[in-house]
Symmetry: C2
Subunit: 219 residues, 2 copies
């Protein structure tokens, strides 16, 4: 079954977010809005997550980029339904852009939908896409000062994932400092650390996603 | 001598950019607008540049951040006149914000002014601040796909500086690929690579700045 879009949904960002949320709920989908700086490793994290979960769930991906289909091609290679949004210079996705992609998915079959936002630690934080969870990925080489320097993003997200922990020996970054900084501005936020490249720490992330998709049996 | 600001300069971004450009020219200043993703190492690059050049030139810094005075404090520790702009969530600097800081500098004494923009590979590229040169810093851990994926930034900047080359042994990044990608979208752009942390490659960057400040004798 394909979802139908009424024209008036696309007139207003908040109306579109409510529309998306309703569609996601009606189709029993768990939807994650993945945000970060450019180059934090969101797409690699997605690839490894798909590899870990594709035999358990049907996964869909919405790929947001300024230009190119590169990231969508990486996900499609893994056999995942992926729709590319090119914002042509726009610095974030909004709920209307996401709503427009929904008719391209067979929503009844999708359990878990990832929306990979534009690489930007500022603009995407203000836009509700109708997701269940907002995730921000921060990579070790970006440095410890990012949480205090970009507080709005870290305040507004449910989970902070520290990526590229395999680089900890080579750069100046403290995981305990990052955890304390996050707790001071967003005490309810979850904090995880992993390396999508080496697989270290991926179990906790994958377990958290299972609990989101299947709240009763996922644990 | 302090510069005086007329109210009407602040009404329009392009008018403010022209005002800034005129002020910079009248005071024989060489002005660099430094842009990048969050965590690419702009502030460390600035610190090392100040250490290399502060005995030759009087340097000023305008620090753009969403929140905190952290980066301004790092520069002030080196004895550099530094004015902080906090955009309170805004994703880029504009020429009006820069114009407002100018009365805080003793412009007659400044040879070289750095404007450190908000960490963001999208929004700042569209705003002329009145600078002489636009620089984008890309750090090795961000990956090779950033130049094709964020083409507008790399098309609109005069110089691309690859930073953190000390991490080349630990991540998948090719300098020759980056140079070729840049040449394909912006053939006139200069390409440099360095590590502000270890000092490798800093001579070329410092030499380029000297030529900007003193076009006749800097070489």
């Amino acid at each position: 079954m394909k979802v139908k879009l009424q024209e008036d949904v696309l007139k207003d960002q908040n109306q579109a977010a409510a529309f998306n949320r309703n569609v996601f709920k009606n189709h029993n989908m768990f939807v994650v809005n993945l945000m970060s700086s450019p180059g934090s490793g969101k797409t690699t994290l997605l690839e490894e997550t798909v590899r870990a979960l594709k035999n358990e769930y049907t996964i869909g991906v919405i790929e947001g980029d300024l230009a190119t289909e590169r990231d969508a091609l990486r996900l499609r290679k893994l056999g995942v339904s992926t729709v590319q949004i090119n914002t042509v210079g726009g610095c974030h996705l909004d709920a209307r852009m996401v709503a427009k992609t929904l008719p391209e998915f067979d929503l009844n079959t999708i359990d878990l939908l990832f929306i990979e936002n534009i690489g930007n630690l500022v603009c995407p934080s203000g836009y509700d896409l109708g997701q269940d969870e907002k995730i921000v990925v921060l990579s070790v080489p970006e440095g410890n000062d990012k949480i205090p320097k970009y507080p709005v993003m870290f305040k507004r997200t449910d989970v902070t994932v520290i990526n590229k922990i395999d680089l900890l020996p080579y750069v100046d970054f403290s995981l305990s400092q990052a955890e304390a900084d996050l707790a001071s501005i967003n005490p309810k936020a979850l904090f995880m650390s992993l390396s999508a490249q080496t697989g270290e720490g991926m179990e906790e992330w994958v377990k958290w996603l299972r609990e989101g998709v299947s709240p009763c049996t996922g644990q």
